[in-house]
Symmetry: C2
Subunit: 221 residues, 2 copies
C-alpha cells in the first residue's frame, strides 16, 4: 500500500474538510483518468494559468511544451508551480439556488518543476504523455527524432504536496425545502468521443485503429 | 460591433500567433459555452489554481464562493488574478508523436476582482451563475435569502485584458510522414449529459424539467 501524502498548509482542505482526500491511490486515479491540467505560476507576482496536457509516471507528473514557450522557460527556472486537474462528473441541482453544486474530482499539486534532460528520460516522458491522452497510440506513430526532442522541453514535478477534492451524490437542501414542488437531482456529465474524422490527406486503405474507435475516458467506472 | 480588446504584454500570443484571438465576440462565445474556469492567484509568490463556476454578465465575469473561503478572501483583497476557461473539442492524432495536438478554444483573462456588495447586484450575479450552468433553472428554484446572500461572496472582473486561443482542424504532419501507413485525423470530444438521476428524496409526481432533460453544452454548434 502506498503511503499517503502529508497535508501541508497549502493542501489542507479548509472549507469543507470532508471533501479532502490525501490517499495516494485516490489522487492517482484522478490523475490517471484526466489528461488536461491547468498550470499556475507567478512571474513578478502576476499569476498565469495555462491549460496543457500531462502524464503521470509513478510518483511524478510530467508536462511538455516548446522549448521556446514562455511558460516552459519560466517553470524551468525552478519557480513554484500549482497544477490542478479537474474532472467534472455532474451538475447537482438542488431545490434552492444556494445549494446548487457540482460533482467533481480534482487534484491540486504544488511544487517546483525540474527539467528532464536525458534523451531516454525525455523519450519515456513523451511516450507517457501520448499514452495518457490516447492509450495505445505510441506504438503506431513515428517517434521523436533527436531534433524534435531538442525542440521539446519536458518538466517533471514530484507528486508530494498534493490533495484531492471529491464531491459525489445528491444535492443537500435545507430541510424545509424538501417539500417544494421542484425537481432536484444530479445531471451526470462526461467527456464523450464523437465519430473519428479522417485527416483529409489520409492514405487510402487505412482504417481507424481500435485505440481511436473504442476510445473512452472512464476506464474505471 | 464590439470593440476588440487590446493585446497587452501578457495576453499577446507569443508562441503561435495565428492561434491568438482578440475579437470580443469570439472571446464571449467561448466564455458563454463554458461554465467552469480555473482561477489563478499568488499569495506571497506562491501560485494557487482553483476550479470554480463563473458567469459572464455583459463585459464582466463573475465568480462566487463562500464568504469564508480562502480564495474568495484573497481575491477580494484586490490582488491580481488570472482566469482561464478551456473548452476541449478534440484530439488531433498525427502520424508523428511530435505533431500530436488538441483542438480547443480557451480564454485567458487577467485583472483585479472587485467585490459585488449591493443586494440587487449580488442577486443578479447569482442568477447569472445559475443560468450559465443550467439555462432555465433560476425561475424554478428558491432564490437566496438575505442570510444566504450574506454568506456568499461575489467577485466581478472586467473582461478587458483577455485573449482567446483556438486550434481547429486536421493534424499538420511533416511532409515526408504523409506516406506512412498510420491512421491520422481528429477524434472529437464533447461534454455530454447522461440520464438525469432523481434526488433520493424527490417528492412523488415531479417530473424532470425540460431544462434538464434537453440539456446541452453546445448552443452554437
Amino acid at each position: 500500500m502506498k503511503a499517503n501524502v502529508q497535508p501541508t498548509k497549502r493542501t489542507r482542505i479548509k472549507r469543507i474538510p470532508k471533501r479532502g482526500v490525501f490517499d495516494r491511490d485516490a489522487i492517482y486515479s484522478i490523475l490517471d483518468e484526466g489528461f488536461i491540467c491547468h498550470v499556475g505560476f507567478a512571474v513578478d507576482g502576476e499569476p498565469f494559468v495555462m491549460p496543457t496536457g500531462y502524464a503521470r509516471i509513478g510518483d511524478r507528473l510530467v508536462i511538455h511544451g516548446s522549448a521556446a514557450s514562455r511558460m516552459m522557460r519560466s517553470l524551468a527556472d525552478g519557480i513554484e508551480v500549482c497544477v490542478t486537474v479537474t474532472l467534472l462528473d455532474g451538475l447537482v441541482l438542488a431545490r434552492s439556488a444556494f445549494h446548487h453544486s457540482m460533482n467533481y474530482r480534482s487534484v491540486v499539486l504544488f511544487g517546483t518543476a525540474e527539467m528532464v534532460t536525458g534523451e531516454d528520460e525525455k523519450m519515456e516522458a513523451l511516450s507517457a504523455l501520448t499514452e495518457q491522452i490516447v492509450p495505445g497510440r505510441w506504438d503506431d506513430v513515428r517517434w521523436p527524432t533527436p531534433l524534435e526532442l531538442k525542440a521539446t522541453t519536458v518538466l517533471s514535478l514530484p507528486i508530494e504536496e498534493a490533495s484531492a477534492k471529491v464531491r459525489t451524490g445528491d444535492p443537500i437542501d435545507d430541510e424545509e425545502d424538501y417539500e417544494m414542488n421542484v425537481w432536484a437531482g444530479v445531471l451526470p456529465l462526461s467527456m464523450v468521443p464523437g465519430a473519428p474524422v479522417n485527416d483529409t490527406r489520409l492514405k487510402n486503405g487505412i482504417s481507424v485503429p481500435k485505440h481511436v474507435s473504442e476510445y473512452s475516458r472512464s476506464p474505471s467506472r
